[in-house]
Symmetry: C2
Subunit: 278 residues, 2 copies
DNA sequence: GTATCTTTGTGCACGCGTTCACAAGGGCAT
DNA sequence: ATGCCCTTGTGAACGCGTGCACAAAGATAC
């Protein structure tokens, strides 16, 4: 998942919990599919199954929006689609700019999921003069100089950053200065923004690293469960050699020593050395 | 953030909280940057700033890994990089396959962030016979028929799905059957997997919809704060016409009526109609 | 009109995650 | 060696999110 990031005290005013907001698009997608199959009503149990969540959670989520169900029957699909769309703000048209038209930016520009839900790409922007003028996804790529103009002329409030990490903060600053107040950031960098600006981050590398963590633990479980040592002298759970062979992984070499002369917590227990990634 | 998804009771065994695991890659990135600048030590305050989190949270996160800091001084950068890398499993080599080499799949294949942290793309797979044989990011695209072979020969345990939604579940099933136990899913669909398989979802459309929700609320705040009505008859917070003009948005038309003959909760209060997205 | 059945909506309790605030601990100056 | 100062590590309190379990409410059959 893209990593969440708070920003405001939470969800204020009408007080729809952030966790619920994050699930609404999921429900909406499932409901849209039902709508296309002309299914008139759906129970919380069915819909929860389609969305991959617990039915109690779904009912509680909907209860924040109001009482849109009918006891003994379920929810009216069309009506619920409308209510959720409205709640999410999808009944409006949201002009979007994408900055950084590399592989990822081009992929985003071509992504059909945007247009289908009220999002309209109105500008593709790149710093490379070579790209300016090229056609991508039916739009002409503009040079960075045009960023402010495009944002202001189209009343853009949502910007997508798909530049390299080094350029992200600068692009972000310019977007914000031009009037953008919501940013979807694909660059692997932490963005500093003023109050009132929302940033959501999607980081492919982080997602993979989280998967690797769980994968490593799974591998460790298949081996004998080591007794837990006490007192901060942590015994690392290393995937045993058998697992490494089984799945064809290879460990690398080199390992920094503990900086001070203090006790090396890995002493004797960590037989699988490593080097830090670039 | 990419939307999280639980699956197992939480983080078991050595008990590093899931939320902490999700932040470790963030710390690692900041530490790597410091390492490249040859900074020897860093305080929790500095590092927290660079990672965009609270310093108390950072210290608590690190406390789950062990006592790696020095009071009065801070943390040794190199040593911490190593410890986090090891904890995340990045000291191993993780072969990865990417299925679905469209715009997004190609972008992922070219993404440098993979290789730099122990992830090695060993297979690009697509169902389109046209693509088979083409070179993408220095690798030859293989046809879907080869999926099982590539997974087994390389001992792949992490798979990336970048196919259209319709193909995702089938691809997922085949990956799992072939031995993959961690999946990063970019397709907008809910994947059903057996126990023991981890799925993380990255959904661009959902991220945008969450931004739209907050953006809509921001617009609503600038107008007069409506008094909250009681009794489930929810008065929608509609961005007033002034805001729409200011930012150049346009509302669409059409709105489903409430299914039963019951009270229309929007009666008189919701002047901004809408249509559901495709 | 009454009884029964189905499904919603929610009160409540529990657990995870965050934050505060401070004691413990190590360096450094004197 | 001693005392001061700085930063870590963590106990405790709080708040959010989840899931259970059930009462409320509408539909349906008779």
């Amino acid at each position: 998942m893209a990593t969440g990031r708070p920003h405001r005290p939470a969800t204020r005013s009408r007080g729809i919990p952030e966790a619920t907001v994050a699930r609404l698009p999921l429900y909406l997608r499932a409901l849209t599919a039902l709508s296309e199959r002309s299914v008139p009503t759906v129970s919380s149990e069915e819909l929860a199954g389609a969305a991959g969540v617990n039915s109690a959670k779904l009912r509680k989520d909907f209860s924040y929006l109001g009482s849109y169900g009918t006891r003994g029957v379920g929810y009216d699909v069309e009506y619920l689609v409308y209510q959720i769309s409205r709640e999410l703000g999808l009944t409006q048209d949201w002009p979007v700019v994408i900055v950084g038209i590399g592989n990822l930016g081009a992929a985003l520009a071509n992504y059909g999921g945007f247009a289908s839900r009220g999002f309209r790409v109105v500008g593709l922007i790149d710093a490379d003069p070579e790209l300016a003028g090229r056609q991508v996804a039916g739009l002409t790529v503009l040079h960075s100089d045009e960023l402010e103009r495009v944002v202001e002329e189209n009343g853009v409030s949502i910007g997508v950053i798909a530049t390299p990490a080094g350029a992200a903060q600068q692009v972000c600053d310019r977007l914000v200065a031009a009037g953008v107040s919501s940013i979807l950031n694909f660059a692997p960098s932490v963005l500093a923004v003023p109050d009132g600006v929302d940033v959501r981050k999607v980081d492919l590398s982080i997602e993979l690293q989280i998967l690797a963590f769980h994968e490593q633990r799974k591998a460790g479980e298949n081996a004998a469960a080591l007794p837990e040592p006490e007192n901060g002298e942590v015994t690392p759970v290393e995937p045993p050699a058998t697992a490494a062979v089984t799945r064809g992984r290879t460990d690398r070499e080199g390992q920094p020593a503990r900086p001070d002369g203090g006790p090396d917590s890995d002493g004797g227990t960590d037989s699988a050395p490593a080097v830090m990634p670039a």
